[in-house]
Symmetry: C2
Subunit: 567 residues, 2 copies
């Protein structure tokens, strides 16, 4: 491609409404343009990247025998009424009426449509297992669309669905999909982690999210420095401390304290936060004979409400009680001593001896408190978020915490949809069997933004080879003034095209500085600069965007050098 | 691809709600499944064909330097209010509101979005001319969606838009696009005609439709048997008859006739329809000093209202007057003698002497009427549809009439949108100039149906090579009973894959008859049958779907023979 016949559309200024780096750079590098809130046009450079993501995703789906189909974006309401999602979904589901006042919606996902297809199309166990996928435009009416294509309303997604007669078959497809996702993100040159994700009400360890690591990520991920283990911080198990709890050595003492800031009120008591506990009151479930449950974690830890909610003693969904309103006690002074109800204590808090805690009396804290002697424990449980330095639950290494951008999610749906929509086949024994399902998503357009969050510097984007809008750019210096530069550039351009290299030839009548700035902003990984001075020696200059390293190359070696860089 | 890992989804029965052959065959061959009226899922075989069309279209667009972009399907109303189309469009435009009650629509085309992009992105004449295209899902809320993907509500379209400073530049891009369209339809193996199309209110010969010829086509096309000339029947010029009009030889006579059917009332008079004229009354334009205009065509011809409307004496839009209501005269008895108003006579009718016509008195016809002597002509004009056998307006050959399916449309828009939306640049002389635009559509999903209308027989689809879901199918006969058949089939399959041939290996445990029936229905162009009997001689059987011809091939020659067929 020649720049003179292309639409570069680079911007010098950072648009004021772009908050994150990827959004800023996608606008500045001429990849997207806003049409309305959360709606974007992909301009030529952006679309080239999007298509490259799409291609890798498609190839890896085909490699695991997933079959591509294309479902409509506009979906009839009746199928969603059948699954129950028509009522479950809030206003993020864009509902609409056609000219006959029939209800439709713009699809955010396609579980209903695929279930309808499979229940009509598949009648025998012989046709199973089956995995179908599509790469298709989705719509989600976000309450606050932002960050460009990172959280757009209209976006491109790969969604796959698998159908099985048994959990073993589903697990096999799930594992294959997991591996395919790993290959996709590897081929795209991204630093990513598959992390164990929450499965919500369905339960089981049957969901993974795939995160691209980037400091701007919205999710916190805990991963081991000694293994492949990774999980959402909220999902990662906090192991109990090893060894015996220390023996009680102090007497319990009352202290009148000032204010209600934990750190501030502990200071005069000479107690560190890791030697104190903090408490929350939650509504109890019907399973136990008490109205309330006290949740106790170490004062330097964070309560994990997802873990707490899963405990049978706790009402689900979790309801934290405002103790000030309900009992007149400020939350900072809640404590386990003489608490009337079940007391669930996090492992780390339960391991403390001679600790400090609230007294259930406003303005008073206790020190030298000891479990069993001064306060009882109903159960010792894991109800905190892990922190950096915790031992990894896999048994190897310590946990690190990183930020991630979710770009993929695989999920064992089980029979949620196939029960509701009666998706089944005749089994080998002639019995009707309801199918079990998996669903597998990749945010194709979001990957583009996530890749930029991970690969950029102050001058622009630094594309991995397989994502770049062009892999190579030819920059002739002052070509319109030098016939020799022009001739060499044209010849090199032709040789690169002949060799199948994805090359941009910057043949604009621009100053070299403008060209360098543009190409670094756009982030083309490999740059070949043709200038008078080097031509005297039969040389051109090669520069890698990745590290900025420059080398001189003989003109004859350019093609083979680039092929090596791209291999 | 192996059938056993694929979703063939063929049907034996023709679904009762499919009216036309392509719809029936797309359902039976497992290409599409209905989700709701006018909404379809493309199943694997259908999507494979759709993607092949897409690929050829994309390659030919890139070959003329059109740049691909991707605009959103959901469009904000404000841009359509600016262009005026928000009010102009009827209910076929699906309007919707987002969660904030803002107005949006599902795009049937993208003139507004692209105009918005270009007016913001292009500021200098140096960036012109520019042609942008996309291949994207469109929505049109058809009042009666039918014929499967031929007239669906959600469909895939290639839409391109070009921007220019001058009419010459637009004409150049238009001509390039015309050639690219020809290459696309040729590569797809379709018998097509580019036809001169009506440009509506914009005028000029600046629009062509591309029609795939098929007897089920909704449009009638006139084309020359002696040249490339083709036009919509409504657009084709009817040349005036050559030679002088014959002299009057009869006296005008009154005849009382029965009924009001033209053919029936002419019979007792012994007058052929081509020796009689029929008349219509239209409202006159303000340009002339009369209330009505009489439109006169030969009784065997059809009035062409599009042509009539373009005459300055006729009010635009054309209003045909109900003469029975307005003047108490049944339309069958209207005539030109003593007509009070302008009389526009079609060339063929004006060429008649001693003709028959109505008398403007109910129940009475006249014979032996002659122009000038008995009735005056205000103007001789072309206001009829052409008929088979008319001389071609290009001067070479005679016109034939065929049915066509419109699959492409190119159009010189001029400044319709760029005036309304202020799309302009600074010219070379520093002046602000409004751009002139072209738009160019191809119905990607419709091509799939149109190709089937043109290429099928009673057994199924007969795909052209470049459209087929698979180009070759390997059919092993009773493979599960013969190790030799299986081995040969597996080897051939691998050789074909290695040679890059797009092959389906029908490895199902089915009777040969079932396999043949399925593969002929699906329409795979090249069939290789591996059976015990032929293997004795080291041979397999090759059959072309196109003509059913069978030949024996040595196993070693299969790959090269197929490559030859596909070249």
């Amino acid at each position: 491609m020649r720049s003179s016949q292309y639409l570069l559309s680079t911007l010098k200024e950072t648009p004021s409404d772009a908050e994150i780096v990827s959004h800023q750079l996608m606008l500045r590098a001429g990849m997207i343009r806003k049409v309305a809130a959360g709606l974007y046009t992909w301009t030529p450079s952006g679309l080239r990247v999007l298509r490259k993501v799409e291609k890798v995703v498609r190839e890896e789906m085909e490699a695991i025998n997933a079959l591509e189909i294309l479902m409509p974006m506009v979906q009839p309401a009746d199928l969603w009424q059948e699954s129950g999602r028509w009522d479950d979904y809030g206003p993020e589901l864009l509902r609409l009426k056609d000219r006959n006042q029939r209800d439709f919606l713009l699809g955010p996902t396609h579980e209903e449509i695929i279930s309808e297809l499979v229940r009509k199309e598949i009648s025998s166990y012989k046709q199973l297992p089956l995995t179908l996928f599509q790469i298709q435009t989705k719509f989600r009416d976000e309450i606050r669309p932002r960050f460009g294509v990172m959280r757009a309303r209209e976006f491109l997604m790969k969604d796959a669905y698998s159908f099985h007669l048994s959990q073993e078959s589903l697990q096999q497809a799930y594992d294959q999909m997991y591996q395919a996702y790993c290959r996709i993100f590897e081929r795209l040159g991204l630093d990513y982690r598959p992390v164990i994700a929450d499965t919500g009400s369905i339960g089981g360890h049957s969901s993974h999210e795939f995160h691209v690591l980037a400091s701007s990520g919205e999710d916190a991920i805990a991963f081991s420095d000694g293994s492949d283990y990774a999980a959402n911080v909220e999902m990662a198990e906090a192991l109990p401390p090893t060894g015996e709890r220390a023996k009680a050595s102090m007497e319990m003492q009352r202290h009148e304290v000032k204010g209600d800031d934990l750190a501030a009120l502990l200071q005069p008591l000479s107690v560190e936060t890791q030697q104190a506990v903090k408490c929350y009151i939650a509504e109890a479930s019907d399973d136990i004979d008490a109205e309330y449950v006290l949740l106790v974690v170490r004062a330097d830890h964070e309560l994990n409400t997802i873990k707490a909610e899963k405990h049978p003693a706790v009402a689900s969904p979790l309801v934290l009680v405002d103790s000030h309103k309900a009992h007149g006690i400020h939350p900072a002074f809640l404590g386990p001593v003489n608490f009337d109800g079940a007391v669930l204590v996090d492992h780390s808090a339960a391991h403390l001896a001679d600790f400090a805690c609230g007294s259930s009396e406003n303005g008073v804290w206790l020190t030298g408190v000891n479990w069993d002697r001064d306060a009882s424990i109903t159960a010792t449980v894991d109800i905190r978020n892990v922190v950096e330095g915790d031992p990894s639950p896999c048994g190897n290494g310590q946990l690190k915490i990183a930020r991630g951008i979710e770009v993929g999610h695989i999920f064992q749906l089980g029979k949620k949809y196939s029960d509701a929509m009666k998706v089944g086949v005749l089994s080998e024994t002639g019995k009707h069997e309801t199918l079990t399902m998996g669903c597998y998503g990749i945010g194709v357009s979001r990957i583009v933004a996530a890749a930029i969050e991970q690969h950029h510097d102050e001058r622009g984007i630094k594309w991995p080879n397989n994502l770049a809008p062009f892999q190579v750019v030819l920059i002739p210096m002052n070509m319109h003034k030098s016939a020799r530069v022009q001739e060499t550039a044209e010849k090199l351009y032709q040789s690169l095209l002949d060799a199948g290299v994805d090359v941009l030839f910057d043949d604009r009548k621009e100053r070299p500085g403008v060209m360098f700035t543009d190409m670094e902003l756009i982030g083309i990984p490999h740059q070949v600069v043709i200038g008078e001075r080097n031509l005297d020696d039969g040389m051109v200059e090669y520069q890698a965007r990745k590290d900025g390293n420059k080398i001189k190359l003989s003109i004859d070696d350019v093609v083979s050098h680039l092929q090596q860089q791209l291999a």
